[in-house]
């Protein structure tokens, strides 16, 4: 019987310092060679969330619906400026946003929580935040069920363009993984990063066009400043929310239209570059994890 193991190979020299490209290739190898581990971790995560509560997987469906209810009440009653078919309008943003926050929050603790394991087994740590992000896809998938229900309610907004949701989700996934591995590594060195991240996420949500349309900013004098205007439009979640919304909701007065492909493509390219940089940074920091934890 032979054990095939990628465990500690051979020669380690303290003087050797791998190049960024070498680190990137290593990171890709870490993930591809440990696909099985990522899969098991994702399965474990999903099982845990479903099994622990009375209603189990029903929470995956109820949670975004309840959140939507809160925002609908908030906006229609307090500001009384709701757009037509407003529940569908914001649900198109709540769904992807919940995936992002869940993934980033879970990834933040993913390495620190496994400190015992990291001090005892040599394995590529990058699988931990990647698994946390990937597990979020399941929640996103469950969220499509209430989405279908809401769309059935607003029947005239339905179009085959909803089939483009997975394409937009791929772009979001690339961006999310990059953020996830950065916060996971950062949290090893700064244990209170989790608090910072929680508040930044909340701020990010309100600064992104989730409850309002991106065009809403045009009416605000502050955003006449070209720099602020650029930042508002370059915000990855401005691009993503607008894209999801255009295939799910359309415009306030019209049915769904294809997303802005140019912005999506730019975001995909930028996110891929960001992911490459994040992976290199992660691999740089990885050797210190076992010492710091």
């Amino acid at each position: 019987m032979t054990a095939t193991s990628e465990a500690p190979a051979a020669f380690r020299n303290a003087a050797a310092r791998p190049s960024p490209l070498g680190l990137l290739i290593e990171a890709i190898g870490d993930i591809t060679s440990r696909r099985r581990l990522v899969r098991y971790l994702v399965q474990a995560e999903v099982k845990k969330r479903g099994a622990d509560t009375l209603l189990g997987n029903v929470w995956w469906i109820l949670d975004p619906l309840l959140l939507m209810g809160v925002y609908v009440v908030l906006v229609t009653i307090i500001t009384s400026r709701a757009l037509p078919d407003y529940p569908l309008f914001i649900f198109a943003a709540i769904l992807p946003w919940k995936w992002f926050t869940a993934a980033v929050t879970d990834a933040t603790g993913s390495i620190v929580n496994q400190h015992r394991l990291i001090k005892q087994i040599a394995f590529p740590k990058i699988v931990l935040p990647v698994a946390a992000t990937t597990a979020g896809i399941v929640g996103f998938g469950f969220g499509l069920i209430p989405l279908a229900a809401i769309m059935a309610f607003y029947g005239d907004r339905f179009s085959p363009l909803v089939l483009l949701i997975p394409v937009i989700a791929v772009v979001q996934y690339v961006f999310t993984v990059a953020v996830a591995i950065l916060v996971a590594a950062g949290n090893v060195f700064f244990r209170d990063l989790g608090n910072v991240v929680r508040h930044l996420l909340r701020l990010w949500w309100y600064l992104s066009p989730g409850l309002y349309a991106l065009s809403h900013l045009d009416g605000i004098s502050l955003f006449e400043n070209p720099v602020l205007r650029f930042i508002a439009h370059a915000n990855p979640f401005a691009v993503l929310f607008e894209a999801y919304r255009s295939v799910i909701y359309g415009t306030p007065d019209g049915p769904p239209i294809p997303p802005d492909w140019t912005s999506l493509l730019i975001l995909l390219v930028a996110s891929t570059a960001f992911l490459a940089l994040a992976s290199v940074a992660f691999k740089r920091l990885e050797p210190s994890f076992a010492k710091v934890l």
Partner: protein
């Protein structure tokens, strides 16, 4: 290929280190907050550092069973972590040839919400073992750990003895070339301890090389053919197990006497001051 030849010149060697050093920086030590670290960076307060290991030259040839002994905090476990590839050396070179299995502490990767069999597969994936191999090994592991019908129950329903048995069974399920052991011999109840000791001996016999960290001096004298004494991160003495154990005992006694003398002095000092 370089003008700095590797530490290993002989192909019989399983492990070699040359001038190995591991340095810890206390700047980012555990549970430091961002505020504390940033203020240190801003005030340019130099980071405290300490060498857990330094100038360690070690060779373990095939067929050898090496004991690493020494007082607590001397760097024994750090040495095993470096050999297992968990920690990268801060200076020097380490060369380990063959499939390494490290039995450091058992059951580290367990997830209490998963069942016994799921944990076996997960542990295998963490160890980097082939999934098919792990599935083949599964029945044997379950039988060895004596889990019975509990195998499909979540781990949180297990007793601590069952968890320890499962951890041991997984860690020893694959025959490694190089076996690294850190005080895992005392596990579970008396019956299982005897069983696990027999299994460790079997692994020690089959492995091409063994490095063992322990405080069990009887084991060292009985089953190891060489020993090193590590003190303050350096190899203080290396040689025949009996000699090394004797020296370690001597040093421990000295240390005790010194501590006692210090305590006496500290106790007397206030009296003198008065």
């Amino acid at each position: 290929m370089t003008d700095r030849p590797g530490p290993i010149t002989d192909t019989d060697d399983a492990i070699g280190t040359r001038d190995l050093g591991v340095r810890y920086s206390l700047r980012f030590s555990r549970k430091k907050s961002m505020q504390r670290t940033l203020s240190q960076l801003l005030t340019r307060e130099p980071a405290e550092q300490f060498w857990a290991l330094r100038h360690v030259d070690l060779r373990v040839v095939h067929g050898e069973s090496l004991a690493v002994i020494g007082p607590n905090g001397a760097g024994k476990s750090t040495l095993l972590q470096v050999l297992a590839g968990i920690i990268r050396p801060s200076e020097g070179v380490v060369d380990v040839r063959g499939h390494v299995s490290a039995l450091l502490t058992l059951g580290a990767g367990f997830d209490v919400d998963l069942s016994g069999s799921e944990n076996i597969l997960l542990a295998g994936a963490f160890l980097g073992l082939d999934d098919r191999l792990m599935r083949d090994l599964l029945p044997g592991i379950v039988e060895y750990a004596d889990l019975g019908q509990f195998i499909d129950a979540p781990l949180k329903t297990y007793s601590s003895g069952m968890r320890a048995r499962l951890g041991f069974a997984i860690a020893t399920s694959v025959d490694p070339d190089i076996l690294l052991l850190d005080e895992v011999l005392a596990t579970g109840d008396a019956t299982f301890r005897a069983k696990s000791k027999a299994r460790v001996l079997e692994l020690v016999r089959d492995a091409k090389a063994v490095v063992l960290v322990t405080h069990d001096m009887e084991w060292v004298r009985e089953y190891c053919n060489r020993a090193v004494l590590i003190e303050h991160g350096q190899i203080a003495f290396e040689g025949d197990p009996d000699e090394v154990v004797a020296l370690h005992r001597e040093h421990t006694e000295d240390e005790k006497r010194r501590k006692a003398a210090e305590a006496r002095a500290a106790g007397l000092a206030p009296a003198i001051a008065r």
